[in-house]
Structure formats: structure tokens, C-alpha cells
Amino acid sequence: MSKILEGLYYAESHEYVKIEGEYGYVGITDYAQHELGNVVYVDMPDVDDEVEAGNDFGAVESVKAASDLISPVSGTVVEINEALADQPELVNADPYANWIIKVKLSDASEVENLMDAEAYKAAIGE
């Protein structure tokens, strides 16, 4: 059973965004990290890069495959999770504590296009 946190917003492509004021923390869900297996590299954008909802902003790589990261929200990257550069396995250990990018949101209403915890749970069949 995958861990799904209440209060977060979820995308069909298995990213989440946690909203704090005008910022959003974006990462991948517990379901996604489990499906990927051992994460060995996280390809992150640079600070000040623009991200757009529905477009890829990087990738998470497991031993066998690369999986694009699709941003659930639009805005500007204000921080990346530097710890993942040396310890990508943190994404497996706790994907919600180990977000990938922090985004200054350009349109806070975009989260309305995403799923809540209950809807995401149904979407992954759990």
C-alpha cells in the first residue's frame, strides 16, 4: 500500500505538490518511487529556471530506466533539493520529505486541475 499524504495535490504522472503560501514543493509520490525502484540519479533544473504545468523539468533515473519529471504547477524554481545530488536514494527512503524543487507559483489556481489524496488513491487503484 503506497503512502499518500492528505493536503497535497497529485498529478496523473505521479508528482505531488505541497503548497506553502506562494510556494510549491514538487516531488514524486511514494507509489512512483516504488514503481521506479532504486533511484540512482535525479536530474534537476537550475534555480531561476521557469517550469510550466504539464511540461518536463528533469528526470528521475532508476538503475534500468529514466523517467521524466512533469511539473504539476507553473512558476520559477527558487530552490532545488541539493541533498539529492549526492544521495538520490533519499527519494526512495521518504519521497514526501525529499521534495525535488521549490517553485514560486505563477498561478496558484492551477492546483484545481490536480487530484486530492482521495482521488489519487483511486487513480492508482488502492
Binding site: 525502484g37 532504486n38 540512482v40 540519479y41 536530474d43 528526470a59 533515473e61 538503475v63 534500468k64 529514466a66 545530488a85 538520490p88
Partner: protein, 363 residues
């Protein structure tokens, strides 16, 4: 077309394996964790279902002459029980398949071929066999095969299966009576570690699998780590480093092509390529970053594309991001600075040996 299943398929499902298509079969890619499975083989013992591999028996008065004609290595006067690695070539020098030839006895050769090439190989072998006094029997459906690999393997095969193997030399085989059937055991593998491969009936294959797992000393390992293991020690995979279009010389496997042999298919093309010099070559590349170069990604230097990655990983045993790549031979010298384009960015690296981890064979 529906994928085939090996005689151990139900066991893989019961173990909760991730199943994916490979070489026309639904095969277990991993059971729990590819890194743990990889490390079990490097440090202790792992078992693989490799029943998808194809088997062909060649017998008859001209069997030695025939195998020498379709095979790049030289099996002339081979001692019984010796195994040879080599390729079957097109007249162009491209590779039909890479395979093992087991000299079982006088005028009896056992060929082990890749699952994905079985139909192509059988057609190829049958076609060329017409000109020789030989009998070719396709036995892939008869045999199951398991590979037991890792430093603890010898002791486990002797203790758990009761099959004596400690005196066997690397790349030799023998036939053994087991529960009233004749099975084949060979000191071979595809991991860079010591180990054995066992060929027998489906019943035998199931029994070996069950006994070894029940011993608690052997970890079930999927094809995922089989690929990371073979890759780290620079072993080629047909489809990646060898194809109908890539020659053994380009793949750095010239020592398995015996040009001094009288005649074999592809000989002229390889001799000509050797005389002219190689235009492209498979090399190792180590990246400075941890981004992962994967099959098909472009390799660049001097602002242009000089080749493509054939296989790449973040090496489980070394932690480095490395790949094998087929590139312009002008850039193949060790230490040459090259880069790999991964998604939108270019990651710098340099040409290295294509053996990223030392083999640990017991010779």
C-alpha cells in the same frame, strides 16, 4: 505474437517478480531489488532462469568441419568438454549471433544461442548445413537452463545439489547422471563471477531451482541484474554491442575470430576490415557526473556527433556513470575527452577501458 514462457514461469510469478518481455519470452527482470540481486552475485551466490536461451545439437561425420565453417573461433581437434565463445557472421562481417560451442564428444557439438535470435539462427544453421554431412537438432524446447553465479557457487552446487564440480576448469563442461537423466553442467556464465550453468529437462530445472532456493544460500536474480553484471565486466549483449551491422573487430572481440582458420563465413570481410583499419570502435566512457548514459544516446566531441551509447548504467559495483559506446575510431584512444547528450544537456567524460569492474573467474 504471444510471448513464450520458460518452465519456471509460475515460480517467478509466485515470487512476485516483475515480468517483462525479453527475446520473445516473458522473463523475470527483478524479484525485489536489482541492487541487492546484483550484489548477491558479486558477493555470494545468485540463481538465474536462463531457460530462454536456445540450444542446438550438431552431430555427424562433418560436424567439426561444419561448426568451424559457421563459427569464428577454432574448434579443430578440441578436447572433449571444452567450450568456445565466438560468433556466427554474415558474409559482410556483421554478427548473426554470438554463442557458445560445447565440444561434448567426438562429432557432437552443443550450441547455445541467444533467445531473441533463435528463429534467425536456426534458419541460418539449417541453410548452411545442407552442404555438410551433419545432423542438426533444435533442442530449445527440451532444455531448461539455470545459471548459478557468484563466489560461493562451487560449494553450494556440490553440497546442495550433490553434483561434483570443484575440479572443473573455467569454460569446460561435462555430462552428469542426475535422477536418471543426463544433464550438462558447465563452468560458464555472464556475470564476471565464477559460476556454473546447468542444462536439463524441465523437471530437472524445476528441481534445481527449488533445491537451491530452499537452501537459503542462493538469491533469485532477474535479467535486470544479469545485464548490470555483464555490462560492468565489459561483456557484450547481442542487440547492444553486437548486431547484424557491427563486426567483432569493431566490438573489440577480435581474439574470438581465428583468421588463420581455413574457411568460415565472414572471414574475407573481417580480414579486409583488419587490413584497412577500423572506422568505428566500441569503447568505454566514464562520465564526470552521475547522469546515466543509456542505449542510443549520442556521443559528441569537437561539436559533432561521433557515435552512440550501446549500454550504460550507474555501475552498481563502482558507483560511477559509465557506458559502452560505438564511436568514430579517431576518438577511441584512452583518455580522449568526449561527452554524452542526456536529454537536454551534454555531460563531459572520457574514453576508458570497457571493463569497468575486474572479472573474478576461477581459472
Amino acid at each position: 505474437m504471444e510471448n513464450k514462457r520458460t518452465c519456471l514461469y509460475d515460480k517467478h510469478v509466485a515470487l512476485g517478480a516483475l515480468i517483462s518481455p525479453f527475446g520473445g519470452f516473458d522473463m523475470p527482470i527483478q524479484y525485489s531489488n536489482i541492487v541487492e540481486e546484483h550484489n548477491a552475485v558479486r558477493q555470494a551466490c545468485g540463481i538465474f532462469d536462463v531457460s530462454h536461451m536456445g540450444e542446438v545439437l550438431v552431430t555427424g561425420p562433418e560436424s567439426e568441419k561444419f561448426v568451424n565453417y559457421i563459427f569464428t573461433n577454432d574448434i579443430t581437434d578440441a578436447p572433449d568438454g571444452k567450450i568456445y565463445y565466438g560468433m556466427m557472421l554474415h558474409p559482410t562481417g556483421g554478427v548473426v549471433d554470438d554463442l557458445l560451442v560445447y565440444k561434448m564428444a567426438d562429432k557432437r557439438f552443443f550450441l547455445v544461442i541467444n533467445a531473441g535470435n533463435i528463429d534467425k539462427d536456426i534458419a541460418w544453421i539449417m541453410e548452411h548445413a545442407k552442404k555438410f554431412d551433419v545432423t542438426v537438432e533444435h533442442q530449445s524446447d527440451i532444455y531448461g537452463e539455470v545459471a548459478v553465479q557468484g563466489p560461493d557457487t562451487e560449494a553450494i552446487v556440490e553440497e546442495v545439489l550433490g553434483i561434483p564440480c570443484a575440479d572443473m576448469v573455467f569454460y569446460t563442461c561435462k555430462e552428469v547422471e542426475y535422477n536418471g537423466e543426463t544433464i550438462i553442467i558447465s563452468r560458464t556464465g555472464y556475470t564476471g563471477e565464477d559460476g556454473f550453468e546447468l542444462y536439463g529437462s524441465h523437471a530437472f530445472t524445476n528441481e534445481v531451482w527449488d533445491k537451491l532456493l530452499a537452501s537459503g544460500k542462493v538469491k533469485p536474480c532477474g535479467l535486470g541484474c544479469r545485464d548490470t553484471l555483464r555490462f560492468e565486466v565489459g561483456l557484450p549483449l547481442y542487440g547492444d554491442e553486437l548486431t547484424d551491422e557491427i563486426t567483432p573487430l569493431e566490438a573489440g572481440l577480435g581474439i574470438f575470430v581465428k583468421l588463420e582458420k581455413e574457411e568460415f563465413i565472414g572471414k574475407e570481410a573481417i580480414a579486409a576490415q583488419k587490413a584497412e583499419g577500423l572506422k568505428r570502435k566500441i569503447v568505454g566512457i566514464e562520465l564526470k557526473d552521475k547522469a546515466i548514459p543509456r542505449h542510443g544516446y549520442d556521443v559528441e566531441a569537437d561539436g559533432k556527433v561521433i557515435g552512440q551509447v550501446t549500454t550504460g548504467y550507474n555501475s552498481i559495483s563502482t558507483g560511477k556513470s559509465v557506458c559502452m559506446a560505438l564511436i568514430d575510431a579517431n576518438y577511441a584512444k584512452l583518455g580522449t575527452e568526449v561527452a554524452v547528450r542526456i536529454r537536454k544537456r551534454v555531460f563531459p567524460g572520457e574514453v576508458t577501458k570497457k571493463r569497468f569492474y575486474e572479472k573474478n573467474y576461477k581459472k
